[in-house]
């Protein structure tokens, strides 16, 4: 069930409904229910239970966009882990640094896209440096790599605090991405019969679209290119990969560059949607941790599923049980671990 899986014929043959078909039916029903919830005008009793349709649909949409952001951060984390067994606990710092760099470049040049590009490129470069200078020296020693990454994150957080102080930065979104769009979703019907449509920030839709495009891009890279093939092979068996004459270190450097670059990219994109401030590094690190633990280490599709689960849980929790909403994501994690320790899409090793 990982990125390596080929489309296989259905597992169970024989009569009756296969397990797969049952699941398919289940998900179809869920999709239908969600579609009804989103597009139908809600009866009063439903509004009473779920506060309001506006609140519910917004939470769902916000959950999905947040999932997009989490996916961008977590996909790098999971790739790096899958290939190098390296738990990079400085991954959150990469996110935050990307955000700060994006802010500086965007506010100085006036071009937001330039900021986004800078966030990706600079962080990709930093990722390569980290891999070559730091992690390569500790190859094969998981624990020390992890400890070093903790040390890096402590120093990085403090240095960023020194440079950018504790202030809150908002990366200005360009005009063409700003403003709210009206979605064809009726949230309420006024007494005079006019329908109230849901408005939603256009920027967030763009974030989601970007995450999906990048997700597809990653999938293509992993499945259709030579480098991707090497990475997948490395995830499965690193020793065999190097034995077959591939320059493993080059592959590692590429994966680190892509992973760190994505974190930096997500930093700029996320910093425009929310804001940039100290502490975000820990927040996104924890989000990535939970996402990949739930989704399964080393699996891109797992990261996507995990991100969706966590993003939705976080936003729905915030609206419907704010007191313990934060804990909800961790409950999901613990339950996943108890039932399926390797994560939803993870392979047991």
């Amino acid at each position: 069930m990982s990125i390596l899986d080929r489309p296989s014929s259905s597992g169970i043959s024989g009569g009756g409904v296969s397990r797969r078909q049952a699941w398919g039916l289940f998900w179809l029903l869920v999709a239908a229910l969600v579609a009804w919830l989103v597009f139908a005008v809600w009866p009063d009793w439903l509004n009473a239970i779920l506060i309001s349709k506006k609140a519910f649909v917004s939470a769902i949409l916000n959950g999905i966009t947040l999932a997009g952001l989490y996916f961008l951060v977590a996909s790098g984390f999971t790739l790096i882990f899958g290939l190098m067994r390296n738990v990079n606990l400085a991954h959150g710092s990469l996110y935050l640094l990307g955000a700060y760099i994006g802010y500086e470049v965007a506010s100085r040049t006036g071009y937001w896209l330039l900021g986004v590009a800078a966030g990706f490129i600079v962080l990709a470069a930093i990722g390569v440096v980290m891999q070559v200078v730091v992690f390569r020296r500790l190859e094969g020693d998981d624990l020390r790599q992890t400890l070093v990454s903790i040390g890096i994150s402590i120093v990085a957080a403090d240095l960023m605090l020194a440079v950018w102080a504790g202030g809150t930065y908002q990366i200005a979104v360009p005009e063409w991405l700003d403003g709210a769009v009206t979605l064809p979703v009726i949230t309420a019907v006024r007494s005079n019969g006019a329908s109230v449509f849901l408005t939603y920030p256009f920027y967030r839709i763009a974030v989601l679209a970007a995450a999906i495009v990048i997700g597809i891009g990653l999938w293509l890279m992993l499945n259709k290119t030579r480098v991707g093939m090497m990475i997948r092979a490395g995830v499965d068996d690193r020793a065999m990969l190097s034995a077959s004459g591939v320059n493993v270190h080059a592959v590692f450097a590429i994966v680190f560059a892509v992973g760190a670059g994505l974190a930096g990219f997500a930093g700029v994109v996320g910093g425009s949607a929310l804001s940039v401030a100290p502490g975000e590094d820990i927040r996104y690190l924890l989000a990535s941790l939970v996402v990949v633990i739930v989704g399964g280490m080393g699996s891109i599709s797992g990261a996507a599923i995990g991100a969706l689960l966590i993003g939705l849980a976080e936003q729905l929790g915030l609206v419907y049980f704010p007191t313990y909403g934060v804990v909800l994501t961790f409950i999901i994690m613990v339950v996943t671990l108890a039932i399926r320790p390797q994560g939803i899409m993870g392979k047991s090793r």
Binding site: L143, I150, V155, D158, L159, L286, I293
Partner: protein, 342 residues
Amino acid sequence: MTISLQSTPVATQPNWLDKIGAGHILLGIALVLYPLVASDFFLTQIGGYSLIFGMLGLSLMMLAGYGGMVSLAQITVAGIAAYCIAIFGDNNSHLLGFGWPWWIAAPVAILIAAIASSLIGWISVRTEGIYTIMITLAIATATFYFAQQNYAIFNGHSGYAGIRAPAFWGVNSRDPKAFYYLCLGFSVLAYAAILYGSRSTFGLTLQAIRDNPRRMRALGFNVTAHKVFAWFLAGIIGGLGGVLLVWFNGRVSPGTIGVDAAIDVLIIAVIGGLRHPIGPFLGALVVVLMQTFAIDLVGAERFNTLIGLVFLVIVFISPDGILGLWAKFKPNFSQESLRPGR
């Protein structure tokens, strides 16, 4: 950080003095006499505090050094014990506070902490080594958030205050000297227990599991049970540290068990060294001294850079922490003497 298991041939039967070791005796005398030369501040804020965090580091060192499981949840375990003391004993936060005497509250608190530790262990040992650090980090954060949000049990963001160290046998442990000796006594107890336990059958089995779980499983050992039991034992030490910590601070709040504190404990254990139970105490002393006096030397602003760099250097050049550094610059001493299993 794989440590090969050392066989333990004991050639001669040493007398009790040799068994304990002159170093231990000297160190013990120095620690016992320390209150004669130290001010109250140094006694509690440096001495007592280092011993308490040393114990937390020790519980981590035990799991990491002997069991190969690096946990970031030791402060959580300690925090659970601390909250239990606040809830079962007395506090001035107008919530709960059953007023149990300390000699019931403290053991119950430690037991609950140990059970919680076993649960955390049970969840994390289902996966392999490196996962543990992530899972425990997530659990530590979850507990922190829960404590911060829950007012019925944890009293939310404010936590509990007005918790007082008990007076017993005519000694008021709020007195700096008494409190120092209290911390010292329990630290020595924990230290000796670890030192002894590492050579016991269970300790050796645990180290063997760390080195090769598959083989141990094939030999018929219940790997999971051994690991979870190690978590239980670490929970007792962590819980003990938590009880002392809450008596020391007189209060406990979510900030006590936050991510920063969790990482502090890891830093202490790693800086000190994960190979010998004296390491965490050394690490705690170094970190506490740095934390306390950094503001006078470099300014508090860049304290974290300093400690982060020290941590990085230690991890890079000496995986065994300060103990390892010592060994490096004193090559004439055999490194074996500081290894567990001897």
